[in-house]
């Protein structure tokens, strides 16, 4: 049985190590915060200028001057700090964030990612996505393995405009986990969702992977 969105978030949360500074994208990655393993203490960065992002506020705590990168109202923690956008992205670009977990539309076998625009549709912009994939030490992409038409989203080359080239270290889909170590060019299947057979994954994957 393939993983649900929540399962995928839970699996992604296993990539967080104690002491990590972490940036979570919008969508499934946001759910990761609900699954941080016991005994693992991480600090969440919000690229609009905050380290130590806390949970949503109680209704009487809402502060319009305190939002996350998804423009949601949030709270601060005792460890929190605020800084400006240039400092925030200096932190990201300079490789100080340990891990970024982000959604994807397509991933290529060479680790390229496309997640910001679909030609012909109204484009909202890349926000901080290009900076994150170019700068963060380790990037984990979370996405459904296939699109609604059943076509693979893990491809030899992305067909959509890229967000970044050769920057994804791990891909978590509803079917399993695909990763490559430092300096490795190809992804390897490292885990299958429960009940998912390797043949099903092979059939649904256009990318050239290491299958074993």
């Amino acid at each position: 049985m393939a993983w649900t969105r929540d399962d995928m978030a839970k699996r992604a949360a296993q990539e967080l190590k104690d002491g990590f500074y972490v940036n979570l994208g919008i969508g499934i990655p946001t759910l990761v915060a609900n699954h941080i393993p016991d005994g693992v203490d991480v600090t969440l960065q919000s690229e609009n200028g905050m380290l130590g992002m806390g949970p949503f506020p109680y209704p009487d705590e809402v502060d319009p001057d305190l939002i996350n990168a998804g423009k949601q109202t949030i709270t601060e923690l005792r460890r929190s700090s605020y800084f400006n956008s240039a400092e925030s992205f200096a932190m990201i670009r300079g490789g100080h964030i340990d891990i970024s977990i982000l959604g994807a539309m397509e991933i290529s076998q060479g680790g390229d990612i496309a997640n910001w625009m679909i030609p012909g549709k109204m484009v909202k912009g890349m926000g901080g996505a290009m900076d994150l994939v170019a700068g963060v030490k380790r990037c984990v992409a979370v996405m459904d393995h296939t699109n609604r038409a059943g076509k693979s989203k893990f491809l030899p080359e992305c067909t959509l405009p890229l967000t970044g080239r050769n920057c994804i270290d791990m891909v978590i889909t509803d079917l399993g986990v695909f990763s490559r170590g430092e300096g490795e060019t190809r992804f390897r299947v490292t885990e299958l969702a429960p009940g998912v057979e390797i043949d099903e994954v092979k059939a649904k994957t256009e990318a050239d992977l290491v299958w074993g």
């Binding site: 203490d41 919000s46 690229e47 609009n48 200028g49 905050m50 806390g54 949970p55 949503f56 506020p57 109680y58 209704p59 009487d60 809402v62 502060d63 319009p64 001057d65 305190l66 939002i67 996350n68 990168a69 998804g70 423009k71 949601q72 109202t73 949030i74 709270t75 601060e76 923690l77 005792r78 460890r79 605020y82 800084f83 400006n84 956008s85 240039a86 925030s88 992205f89 200096a90 990201i92 670009r93 390229d112 109204m122 484009v123 909202k124 912009g125 890349m126 926000g127 901080g128 996505a129 290009m130 900076d131 170019a134 700068g135 405009p161 890229l162 967000t163 970044g164 080239r165 050769n166």
Partner: protein, 242 residues
């Protein structure tokens, strides 16, 4: 010293606005935007404005006000489209749009204020963002050159300011405001609270007054774009977490 303090947003923009001007406007979404100065810029009637701002406001608020009146010719932003009027004008070809990655935009503004005309970044390498930009290799990796950005006028929103223009920002309302304060030929600031010189501990001033030419105190509406809250029935124990 001649005073930096003005009474109203309209007075603070007097003599600074003109057609085809470039304006920077602080804020992230609707958080930390110079609401009153944006409204005064609309009322100034300046046309064909190039607006540099991370976002484009919403319909009827923030920079949305200037889109409604078609005073903006071009936007330089990282994320837009919370705004139907923006989308309509863009799809109709009435509005120019230059997307910058958010960090590149922030750094370009910082560079503009710091006298740095160009810098290299890995952001956008291999994407449409790199097209037409000079590249250079450092340690075997390719980087693209981005240029500094400046504005004729920067509109900035701060939390507290003193009469010398020293500023403090509140929480995530800081965002693009401090860099924009450095990159305007003239920087005009609205603050929630105007205080006397000497009210701040000099160790904790976010923007020194040298960057601020004009300042007003003004009441902000501070709209919330995505109100998200927790169930009040849940305990508050977690707030004790570090």
């Amino acid at each position: 010293m001649s005073s930096k303090v003005f009474k109203t947003a309209a007075e603070a923009l007097q003599g600074l606005t003109f057609d085809s001007m470039t304006v920077m406007s602080g804020g992230f979404g609707l958080c930390g935007i110079p609401e009153n100065l944006i409204a005064a810029l609309r009322d100034s009637g300046a046309q064909n404005i190039t607006a540099i701002s991370n976002n484009a406001g919403v319909d009827g608020f923030g920079l949305g006000l200037l889109l409604e009146t078609r005073q903006i010719k071009k936007m330089i932003s990282s994320y837009v489209g919370e705004n139907k009027e923006f989308e309509r004008q863009f799809l109709a070809g009435e509005l120019d749009l230059e997307f910058n990655p958010q960090g590149t935009l922030a750094e370009r503004i910082r560079a503009g204020g710091a006298g740095i005309p160009g810098f290299y970044t890995k952001t956008g390498v291999g994407t449409v963002i790199a097209e037409g930009k000079p590249t250079m290799e450092f340690d075997g990796e390719e980087y693209i050159m981005e240029t500094g950005l400046k504005a004729d006028v920067s509109l900035v929103k701060a939390w507290r300011g003193d009469t010398q223009g020293n500023l403090q920002f509140k929480k995530t309302a800081r965002n693009f405001n401090p860099m924009m304060a450095t990159a305007g030929k003239v920087t005009v600031v609205e603050v929630d609270e105007l205080v006397e010189v000497g009210s701040f501990d000099p160790n904790y001033i976010h923007t020194p007054g040298i960057y601020v030419q004009r300042i007003i105190e003004a009441k902000c509406e501070k709209r919330i774009e995505n109100m998200t809250t927790r169930d009040p029935g849940l305990g508050r124990g977690e707030r004790g977490s570090a």
